[in-house]
């Protein structure tokens, strides 16, 4: 104990005495493209002191003067070793070559980044993009979020959806960052695809706990997605044509060695494929029915990524990131019927649009060899506009005159808008090899505009019969959010390392200010050179909520801020685990316990179309807790790569506060409470022309509320006074639901297989991808619904109550063609 205290004191004094040291600093980049490498390790092999490059590839390492052997390593790249006589601080830039041995299965130097056995970071996984791109995908569309769903501790919503439920948290509790800027909706096609175009990505890291203090604002996870800067020496690109979408990616220098660009665009063409089919079926239907019918439906999405990066003489980098993506779903039908006596017209129009717009400017500046600054200004917007209009009019013709004209108009509109304007500064300071300090601040000006409008009107002639109008929200709400953080990744002794941090945040909305202090601690004890134990504790706060009708990601979901009544969500998470870097394998086992406060759920029977005029009246505020064990084995190098993950978990909710009672105040399982979750993914590269990959997923079914016991439900009625039955029971037959989420849907499992055929062409490489999603056609439930089935029993019609599951992806073969140049 005395030795530990002594070493801490020595470490503290080392900051003060850092003047006796000299510093090497610089950038680590890919030798071919000049692309900065994030998380590359720089180590003095004599003292074993090291540093890790940041998001711009910058590193800083302070050492005692003398002869040094500096080893720079990064997964998938050749190690770079340089012997130097270090007398004074100097700038050293390293350019690493991609490893050819990597694919051949040779052992590559252990990755000394923060995520392995040597780092303090736990509950985080970096998924290699090569692995993501080789995973079999729905309709051939590679998807980052789908790949993350295969990791332990991460669960999907319903079949096909891109929702993420991390360690018992809800899908709104994930902070999704694109180049450090939050994206509020990451889903295309109702959640079946995500907005991340894999061609534009450089690095994807998922944090499920042990959150570094630099991240905040969401309770359950951080998904940090970094985009490619672009090749600074040559032009490269790819064109990919799939079953439902095509995409193109081009990157290269604007000014060689200085300014780069990276552009990628993607668009679906379901609407274009469908158009001639609709035209033909419309003609045949009109011929068959003789009615004047018109019906069109359409759906498309697109996204566009653009990144410009400029390198200044002094090594500073400036970058501009732009993203826009929209989904459009539309349906229109018109029906005109007329007889000699009657004329009727029906029309229905549905127009749903939703999407994101993001732009970001960053300036990365090395203030000195030990201090690096990131300055950013960002704008992010999510908007959805969902409108449906229905009109029906009919009248009788008597002697050529219109009589008994009835007209019904109904419309429903959802609007959700969230705009964030953000300014932030982040600093990396490495005063000594023992301390890697990060600090910074962020300010965000939020604007929300959630709203629901519904209108129902009925007229008989000119006389109104019914006129019901509901309005919910529709006002702009402004909120201010400010936060500051400080974290120190501190080597206390050669075997003990800790990351100590704190984040403080303020949130002001509607005249109310909330403050939060969030301590973050994680520690690693290195027991052998490749085996460590880690423990962490973190608290998080979240100031926004997502009001969602279902587990699908629908554009009718609305982001709303905390209010004077609905307080910020808070979570506390403690985790502990063992980590083993076993040659080419990373093995880990973690256990976690998490509590969540001020989580919201819809009240029993609540819906937007009900009686409430404020969203606060629709929800109850309560708490939740979850715990579980996660096992993970990953092989990142060699001909065969992949991982196996298993999670045992439990997620509960309780709403027992006055005015917020659900389920009579008793605890109930969360909708995504899944006991077992197993996923395996493997890719084997046979040779340079062919690779084969497969996924297997098994998960306990999601939960839902289902009445499976018929009872006569009684409702008190009032009868004549003086009668013994003054109050009497009215009996209705209902399906009794004893508690919320009482039913577990059937288990989910599937096997996907994919293969890639590579061929070198004159100007590039051609890749054919063939994927079969759900190869044994397991009908995994998208939804389970009760229904009445009527059977003919020897001429007698008998009805029975049955359960039906609806699956959307029984088996889905797909292919895509990619040409890389």
């Amino acid at each position: 104990m005395r030795r530990a205290i002594l070493s801490i004191l020595l470490s503290l004094t080392s900051i003060v005495t850092s003047a006796q040291r000299v510093t090497i600093s610089g950038y680590i980049t890919d030798a071919r493209s000049g692309e900065p490498l994030i998380g590359a390790a720089v180590i003095d092999s004599d003292s074993s002191l090291g540093s890790v490059s940041g998001n711009s590839g910058f590193f800083s390492l302070s050492l005692a003067p003398g002869h040094k052997t500096i080893v720079v390593s990064y997964l998938g790249y050749e190690d770079h070793t340089e012997v130097i006589d270090l007398r004074s601080s100097r700038v050293m830039n390293f350019r690493l070559d991609e490893s050819t041995a990597f694919l051949e299965g040779a052992l590559v130097t252990a990755h000394h980044g923060e995520l392995g056995a040597h780092g303090t970071q736990m509950s985080a996984i970096e998924v290699p993009l090569t692995q993501i791109k080789s995973i079999p995908a729905i309709a051939g569309e590679v998807d980052v979020i789908k790949a993350l769903q295969l990791l332990p501790g991460v669960q999907s919503g319903t079949e096909g959806s891109a929702g993420l439920y991390v360690r018992g948290g809800g899908p709104d509790e994930n902070l999704l960052l694109m180049d450090g800027v939050p994206l509020y909706n990451v889903n295309h096609l109702f959640g079946f695809f995500s907005v991340f175009n894999a061609d534009a990505l450089k690095n994807v890291t998922l944090y499920k706990g042990s959150f570094p203090a630099r991240f905040g604002g969401h309770l359950s996870s951080v998904i940090d997605v970094r985009l490619n800067d672009g090749n600074e020496n040559e032009y490269h690109g790819s064109v990919s044509v799939g079953l439902i979408s095509s995409k193109v990616n081009v990157e290269g220098p604007v000014v060689k060695g200085r300014t780069t660009f990276n552009v990628s665009a993607r668009r679906t063409y379901l609407d274009l494929i469908r158009a001639p089919y609709q035209w033909m079926t419309g003609i045949s239907r009109r011929q068959a029915t003789g009615r004047d019918e018109k019906q069109t439906t359409g759906y498309d999405f697109y996204d566009l990524n653009l990144k410009l990066t400029h390198k200044l003489d002094n090594g500073d980098r400036m970058s501009l990131t732009f993203y826009t993506g929209d989904d459009n779903a539309r349906m229109m039908s018109k029906n005109h019927r007329s007889t000699e006596q009657m004329v009727s017209d029906d029309s229905m129009k549905m127009d749903w649009r939703w999407g994101n717009l993001l732009s970001s400017f960053r300036w990365n500046h090395a203030i000195g060899p030990k201090l690096y600054m990131y300055l950013g200004a960002n704008y992010t917007q999510y908007r959805s506009n969902v409108g449906s209009d229905l009109e029906n009019s009919s009248y009788r013709l008597e002697g050529g005159k219109k009589t008994e004209a009835v007209r019904t108009i109904a419309s429903l509109g959802y609007l959700s808008l969230i705009n964030d304007v953000t300014a932030n500064t982040d600093f990396d300071w490495s005063p000594t090899p023992q301390h890697d300090i990060k600090f910074g601040s962020i300010y965000t000006f939020h604007t929300f505009k959630p709203g629901v409008n519904s209108l129902s009107q009925q007229y008989y002639g000119d006389a109104p019969l019914e006129d019901t109008k509901r309005e919910f929200g529709n006002e702009r709400i402004h909120a201010h959010e400010a936060a500051g953080y400080l974290e120190d990744n501190w080597i206390l002794t050669p075997w003990l390392k800790a990351n100590l941090g704190v984040r403080a945040s303020l949130y002001g909305v509607s005249g109310k200010t909330y403050a939060s202090a969030e301590p973050r601690v994680s520690a690693r004890a290195l027991l052998t050179d490749d085996f460590s134990i880690k423990a962490s504790y973190s608290t998080m706060s979240q100031y926004i909520h997502l009001l969602s009708n279902s587990s699908l990601s629908l554009p009718s979901d609305m982001w709303v801020p905390v209010t004077t009544e609905i307080r910020p969500m808070k979570s506390q998470q403690a985790a502990a685990g063992v980590f083993y870097d076993f040659g080419m394998f990373d093995l880990s086992a973690e256990a976690y316990y998490k509590t969540m406060d001020n989580v919201i759920e819809y009240k029993d029977g609540a819906s937007y179309l009900g009686d409430a005029s404020r969203w606060e009246d629709l929800v109850s505020v309560g708490r939740g807790w979850s715990y579980g064990v996660e096992l993970f084995a990953q092989k990142k190098v060699g001909k065969t790569t992949g991982w196996i993950g298993y999670t045992w978990s439990k997620a509960m909710r309780q709403f027992d506060r006055e005015g917020n009672v659900i389920n009579d105040g008793k605890p109930f399982p969360a909708r995504h409470d899944r006991r077992h979750d197993l996923s395996m993914t493997v890719t084997h590269r046979f040779n340079r022309k062919f690779d084969l990959s497969a996924n297997f997923v098994y998960a306990t079914g999601n939960r839902g509320s289902l009445g499976y016991e018929d009872i006569p439900d009684a409702k008190l009625g009032v009868a004549g006074e003086g009668d013994p039955g003054f109050f009497y029971w009215n009996f209705y037959s209902v399906h009794y639901i004893p508690h919320r989420n009482n039913y577990r849907m059937p288990a989910y499992h599937r096997l996907d297989v994919g293969m890639n055929f590579y061929k070198q062409k004159e100007h590039g490489e051609r890749i054919w991808n063939i994927s079969i999603y759900n190869i044994y056609s397991r009908l995994n439930p998208f939804v389970v619904i009760p229904d009445i089935q009527t059977d003919n029993d020897n001429g007698q019609l008998r009805s029975r109550y049955v359960l039906r599951k609806i699956a959307i992806f029984p088996i889905l073969p797909s292919f895509s063609y990619t040409y890389k140049f």
């Binding site: 006055e658 056609s777 039906r804």
Partner: protein, 336 residues
């Protein structure tokens, strides 16, 4: 090359065949169903003999959806202050079985335990307490002139009653309001012997339950309470929880838009309103929880709420079974 072409053709054919795969399937219920249970409904009303209705629950997927759920032949007993009262089965109507009556007449303050046993079922047990009556009175009433228009009224004339509640006790009480009106009018009566319908002109007593009535509304401090729209009141409307009292008193303005009032019905021909009074009920907490959850469940089972609403679980207080053993006390307070 030939292999490649064959492979692509086979793949295309395979893809076409898969389009025929059905994505909807009937599935078996997999879960824990712990057997049919006794469903007990009983409400102890101060001053009225206690009755109980017994049913049996049924597994929804058993296929026998039309079996009679009533449960005759059970033993039902009541325990109050150490004394036991046995219910007898009411067999007066052969079509209505499972109805049990006792000769015990509940009083305010009673604490009682009911048990029911029947062969093949687990015994059920529940307890309740009869609440104290509400301290409520009509403080005043007034008539608000309407605004006439060419077609009737642009704004209805309204009859207002100011109802005030006192809450001197510390206990948690919940109240409901019903308006009782007595009038002369036509209504249809079925002759017991001939089974024919006849129009009869006589004095009628009708009840307007604040929660569901479309002609009775309530205001507090000029805010209309829990009125989502004309035809769809909230399940909370008219529920007065003394936990919400600011101090020991709370006043409500209960009103009838008279234009709608006289226009109501169509078959009734209202000649004259002779009397108004309020029936104020005090509910115990179990009955209140049960009633609210059932109202919400019934609302959820209809229309768009079924699609967009959150499913509702019914809050029961019967150990070993399902149902509700609740209690209430009523008072009639004259109004006009």
């Amino acid at each position: 090359m030939r292999m490649k072409s064959l492979f692509i053709k086979a793949f295309a054919l395979f893809s076409l065949l898969l389009c025929t795969v059905s994505c909807e399937k009937e599935i078996k219920f997999v879960g824990h169903y712990d057997g049919d249970k006794i469903v007990l409904y009983s409400c102890a009303v101060e001053g009225l003999p206690l009755t109980a209705d017994l049913f049996k629950s049924q597994f929804s997927f058993s296929g026998d959806r039309h079996a009679d759920p009533r449960l005759p032949g059970a033993t039902v007993s009541l325990e109050v202050d150490g004394k036991t009262y046995v219910f007898t089965e009411d067999t007066s109507d052969p079509e209505v079985t499972g109805h049990y009556v006792s000769d015990y007449i509940p009083q305010a303050g009673d604490r009682m335990v009911i048990t029911a046993q029947c062969d093949g079922f687990k015994e059920v047990r529940s307890q309740t307490a009869v609440p104290a009556p509400a301290h409520a009175y009509v403080k005043s009433f007034y008539y608000k002139e309407g605004i006439p228009s060419a077609e009737g009224y642009a704004e209805d004339p309204e009859l207002h009653f100011v109802v005030e509640f006192d809450d001197p006790s510390d206990s948690h009480d919940i109240y409901n309001l019903n308006l009782v009106r007595t009038f002369y009018g036509n209504h249809i009566v079925i002759d017991k012997e001939t089974k024919k319908e006849e129009w009869v002109f006589e004095q009628i007593t009708s009840y307007e339950v604040l929660r569901s009535s479309d002609i009775l509304f309530m205001k507090e401090n000029n805010d209309i309470l829990d009125m989502g729209g004309i035809s769809s009141k909230s399940v909370e409307t008219g529920r007065i929880d003394d936990g919400s009292f600011n101090g020991t008193k709370r006043s409500f303005d209960v009103f009838l838009p008279l234009g709608k009032y006289f226009g109501k019905g169509g078959d009734e021909f209202v000649l004259d309103i002779s009397e108004y009074s309020f029936l104020v009920t005090s509910l115990n907490e179990d009955l209140d929880k049960y009633t609210r959850s059932v109202n919400a469940a019934l609302k959820y089972s209809r229309g768009l709420d079924r699609i967009f609403g959150e499913p509702v679980s019914v809050i029961c207080n019967v150990e070993g079974g399902i149902g509700c053993f609740g209690a209430m006390t009523t008072r009639t307070i004259p109004a006009l």
